[in-house]
């Protein structure tokens, strides 16, 4: 076991997988010489060379499309897109290319690539560098989408993603890189894609959260506990495929659910979870599923404005209490 930062856990996973499999390579902006703007790939160019760790020009569209077909032809690209806000530039390669080939070519190809990116607000980075666009990628069939919140899951899920035969979109959060946690460096500790994590057991209300929102949900659970409310916090972890079994078990127990996602509300990721819960747990539900999300507007820059729009523990508490009212 070792205590490490989220960014270090990702770095470890990359180093381990690149050592294990010579077909794994990295590409992205400023990931080589500089080691990535969040230092996730620090030291890897020195260790694995410039052929396997590539600084790219600012060309997200072609980079993503190239990763898709490189993955089709014998290598395992791990692509870093610096901010999730740039995902629209990658989307044609994901929706019109990666999404379709395995099926329409009747299984002639597979595409084992990972697209790492980070989103979310709270850093005063403004409307073009603070979005969580989970829904854009989660909507695309053929893509798997994961969003680890702990360093252990960051390492375990990244290793699983790199080994997976199919595309994985790996969503990080700019405010998680410096968070610390235990990582079992001795073991492989692969975390399977498709399994949620019960961050905290509870009996009165289920709070299903993603990425950094899991931390807010845990804070909310503490606050709710003070009012004698026992909240179960579920870290969805795997946004797609969704671990419906874990969700069903929890809601069957609590009869109430709050979904927390940092993306926009309308047609957002939280909408899918709310719809799924309603569908699978209709008779169990004592109240409508509450959605706690970013309001449907751009993320403002100034601190008081940004704080007002981001989902947080207080908003989650209020939503939880609404389901219990």
């Amino acid at each position: 076991m070792a205590m490490m930062r989220y960014a270090e856990a990702l770095n470890l996973a990359l180093r381990e997988e690149m050592t294990r499999d010579p077909s794994v390579f990295l590409m992205g902006e400023d990931i080589g010489t500089y080691g990535g703007v969040f230092k996730v790939s620090r030291g890897l160019m020195e260790e694995f060379g410039e052929s396997r760790v590539r600084d790219t020009p600012i060309s997200e569209q072609a980079m993503t499309a190239m990763a898709v077909t490189a993955a089709m032809t014998g290598t395992r690209p791990v692509l870093e897109i610096m901010y999730a806000d740039f995902l629209p530039l990658s989307l044609d390669a994901l929706i019109n290319q990666a999404s379709i080939y395995e099926y329409i070519w009747n299984g002639q190809v597979q595409m084992p690539f990972v697209l790492r990116t980070q989103g979310g607000g709270g850093a005063g980075a403004g409307a073009q560098h603070s979005k969580a666009l989970d829904a854009l990628v989660a909507h695309v069939p053929g893509l798997q989408v994961v969003a680890p919140v702990t360093p252990a899951d960051a390492r375990g899920l990244l290793k699983s993603a790199i080994r997976d035969p199919r595309p994985v979109i790996f969503l990080e959060h700019k405010l998680l890189y410096n968070t610390r946690g235990e990582v079992d460096t001795g073991a492989e500790d692969l975390v399977p894609i498709g399994k949620a994590r019960i961050a905290r057991a509870g009996s009165d209300v289920s709070i299903l959260a993603t990425s950094k929102m899991v931390i807010e949900a845990e804070k909310a659970a503490d606050l709710l506990a003070q009012d004698g409310i026992s909240a179960e916090v579920i870290d969805l972890r795997s946004l797609r495929p969704l671990d419906v079994a874990t969700i069903q078990l929890s809601v069957a127990k609590t009869n109430r659910a709050v979904v927390v996602n940092e993306g926009w509300r309308f047609c957002g990721y939280a909408s899918e979870i709310a719809a799924t819960i309603m569908e699978l747990c209709f008779d169990d539900l004592d109240a409508p599923v509450e959605r706690v999300t970013l309001p449907d507007m751009p993320v403002p820059y100034s601190e008081p404005l940004e704080s007002a729009v981001l989902p947080n523990a207080q908003k989650i508490c209020a939503a939880a209490k609404k389901t219990l009212a």
Binding site: P57, A65, T69, G74, T75, Y101
Partner: protein, 323 residues
Amino acid sequence: MKNTPSLDDQIEMYRRMILVRRLEERLGALSKEGRTRGPIHRCDGQEAVGIGATAMLTDADYLTSTHRGHAHYIGKGVDVYGITAEILGRSTGLCGGRAGHMLIADAARGMIGGNAIVGAGIPAAAGMALSNQILGNGRVAMCIFGDGAAQTGIWHETMNMAALWKLPVVFVLEHNQFGLTVHSDRQGPVADLSIRAQGYAMPAEIVDGNDAVAVYRATAAMVERARRGEGPGMIEAKTYRWEGFSTSDMGGYQKPEDIAAWKARDPIEIARAALLPAVGADRLDAIAAAATAEVEQAAERALADPFPEFEPCAFTAAYSEVL
């Protein structure tokens, strides 16, 4: 002359161009009879580009194509019957009827694949070249794309990265004068799009796209260079599209005199004239007849084949998602 294809290669190119022409004609007829589905993009008159540019590639090399890829498929050695069955949506098609004529792939031949997002085949080939470079497998990747595709942003991003990293990829611009219905002189301010290769310090050559041998020579030089690790190259093959942009084209924008002038330079006739002295009319006629028969048989057989039955998508199922 350097990179001149052998006589056998030239004969094979001649045969393949006839296969393509007959296939396009047959598909045109079937479409008129309402026996095809969706738009079909014919390449009558452009055969020399797809056939000439691919004739020096091996099955290990990769090719990406466009929505107008029949000559590219056949040039890469893909079976005519498998193509025809796919276009007719049969379970015996190369992709089991799932892909359709614009998206055919045959991985065993390195043909991966057709692409109906204009421009998308360009980075696709570069990505394969990137794999080749990292794996050091000596393979080359090629993309054939249109004059319209050359105006997409992804072309620029790809040219830049390919040249920067000296990727083993060859860019073949099939300049048939039109996007769908808009003439290239209304899609960009320069007639010779390959002058843009200078902006990437990349070699480029303009060739007569109706002369398969000329296309072969120029392309073979770029392919060799790429294989030697000296980086990418670009070919601009000038040709012309005889038929509409697809079977749903209502026409009215192509000048009859242009069509006539280009038909007078039929790539098949040009190839035949070049081969006549050495090969003789009888053998060429026999080759043409055999190619015609091959397409006929492919069509008849495909038309008799069963349609596929629907099965849930493997990965959709794998994701335990509702169908």
